[in-house]
Amino acid sequence: MNEAVIHFHPSGPLLALVGNPNCGKTALFNLLTGSRQKVANYAGVTVERKEGRLTTPAGRTLRVLDLPGAYSLYPRSPDERVTCDVLFGRAAGEKRPDLVVCVVDATNLRRNLRLALAVKRLGLPCVVALNMTDLAEKRGLRIVPERLSAELGMPVVSTVAIRHTGAEPLLALFDDQQTWRRATADTPIPGHAAPIGDPHSNQSDHVAVRQILQNLGLDEIVPHTPSDRIDRVVLHPIIGPLLLASILFLVFQLVFAWAETPMNLIKAATSEVGQAIGAALPDTWIRSLIVDGVIAGAGGVLVFLPQIVILYFFILLLEESGYLPRAAFLLDRLMGGVGLSGRSFIPLLSSFACAIPGIMAARTIANPRDRLVTIMIAPLMTCSARLPVYALLIGAFVPQREVYGMLELQGLVLLSLYLAGIVGALAVAWGLKRFTAAGREVRPLMMELPNYHWPTPLNVGLGVWQRVAIFLKRVGGIILILTILLWLLASFPAPPEGATGPAIEYSLAGMLGQALAVVFEPIGFNWQISIALVPGLAAREVAVSALGTVYALATAGEDTAQALAPLIAANWSLATALSLLAWYVFAPQCLSTLATVKRETGGWTMPLLMAGYLFALAYAASFVTYRVALALGAG
């Protein structure tokens, strides 16, 4: 399932945006192209490729490539390597850009201009977009683009990416034919007679930039005092972590609270559509395929959409404002203890809604080993698909009473299941650090803490939309195919004449479940549970309705759990229930997650490894739980 490189505007001049991370490059890209963007992958690597289209005032249509942020043309991450490869014209399937726009943060010329000088040496036509000039002016930095242009020997225009009209000077430059022709490679920088000795030296670029800034009277260091003041609170050793915990708590509360209504609406709509279509079709296997397979499968995907949208909204808000790197800073010590860095925090946070967006978010981790470990432990974060199963079992087996006068026992059990997943993930990461050679290597943090900004609705909105589109496109297809496959397993062969049990018992899934029951017997699962685990492979929560089917309940949806609770409370031992809970903390029963891992790692090795280790972990946890519970008399 390797993604093809998409050339959706194969003709027309190509311009590329290049800049340091946090220079406002993506905001400028959003302003230039609006919603005319396409997100895909670069050939052969899982680096996000963003291409858009813009129309100049003269009516010319241009392709714009938003290259990953880079500090230099010496790559240290897969992202930065793509930027270099494209600029050097050696990226597979990519055209070398016709024009490079160096996006430069006007409040941080010292560092940003070094990259501009390095890009200029490549010999491509090149212009500088002096971004965030509004913020620079607020800090008393008055930069005259013409003078900087004379110093750099390339066109310079000032832009404000967060203002509606902020890109107009840049757009006007694109209509100037001179811009596209300018040969910059051989033009020495005026005023710097001494040629730059080592063309790749950071040091010499640094000297050149310092000279330029001195000539312009801009070499004073003006710190961003509001950011420093916020950081005194946010990074405070005691207040900082408390604030982070409160923010996370609030985000989770809101993700679950706000998502409830739309999720119920989606569930209701799915069953309405299913019933309407079911009534219109004759009672054949085709009806069952469409209603139980396709519609129920699509509903199973869509129902998580509200949570994912809300979670992404908050993550983007935190990301755009500049808080997320601070959160990573606060958690770095904890993550460093298990061999990861603070950067793994964001993918793991997303995994609480669903492991799939979390695994996709691991792309932002520069170090390949850290990225892989983060992907491997992401499924241990309790995703929301486990909640219906937890709710059923806790409701049926854990008494509703208060402990210590204020805490609810059922809530405590749920919390401990979440914690078990987190502790499990940390333990796995620690084990990988301790027992693999790569784990013992010291990997640097070196993470920028950008100045705080107000997030803009355009950037947050576009960000949420793009991530949701990717989720629906990638996951929708996979889940749908798997659901149909599992429907086939659960429906064929049909029960024989005069069969008394539920149909699923006689199907392939039923046979599989009965066979699995032998494997699961030592951890206390009966054959009904084992059968329910098979359709649960499509999405964990499907196990609840599958149990309903096995116990031959004629109800659907929400009612299943209510009708099922007393039934399993009477039929299962407490030890079995606890064992199943422990199973669900670790078990790899989500084929969509495994399919996503295959996509992101480009092979079957990692998903198979993941399934294997999670299965072993789940089996061990359930075994211990079951045996201990039996020994304590919970059988």
């Binding site: 010329l109 260091i221 900082g240 010590r333 460093g336 010291v442 640097p444 070196m446």
Partner: protein, 101 residues
């Protein structure tokens, strides 16, 4: 990781991880650990270049790790081992010009 030798340098040179918070400093050298020579280039890329002004802004908890470091106009989070690669000397607070090494 702290095998950075600074015996050849002036005695006022310390490594950045040992600096006090808020002290105005300038980079004297960048010396990566032998196990990770690529750190030198990476640190230079983000601005730790000889002569550049740096300041320790905050320390994380627990154990004073990682560190928040201001280098010229930018702020970076560095682990202690990374900051230990950077030799610094104090500069006059009132002097806004960089010192040239």
């Amino acid at each position: 990781m702290t095998d950075v030798t600074d015996t050849s340098k002036a005695c006022s040179v310390r490594t950045l991880d040992l600096a006090s918070i808020g002290e105005a400093l300038a980079v004297q050298y960048v010396q990566p650990p032998t196990a990770a020579p690529e750190w030198a280039r990476w640190l230079e890329e983000i601005g730790f270049i000889v002569g550049e002004r740096v300041m320790l802004m905050a320390r994380g908890l627990p154990g004073g790790d990682p560190l928040v470091v201001r280098v010229a106009q930018s702020t970076f989070a560095l682990r202690r081992a990374e900051a230990a690669c950077i030799g610094v000397t104090p500069v006059d607070q009132t002097d806004t010009q960089e010192i040239v090494a």
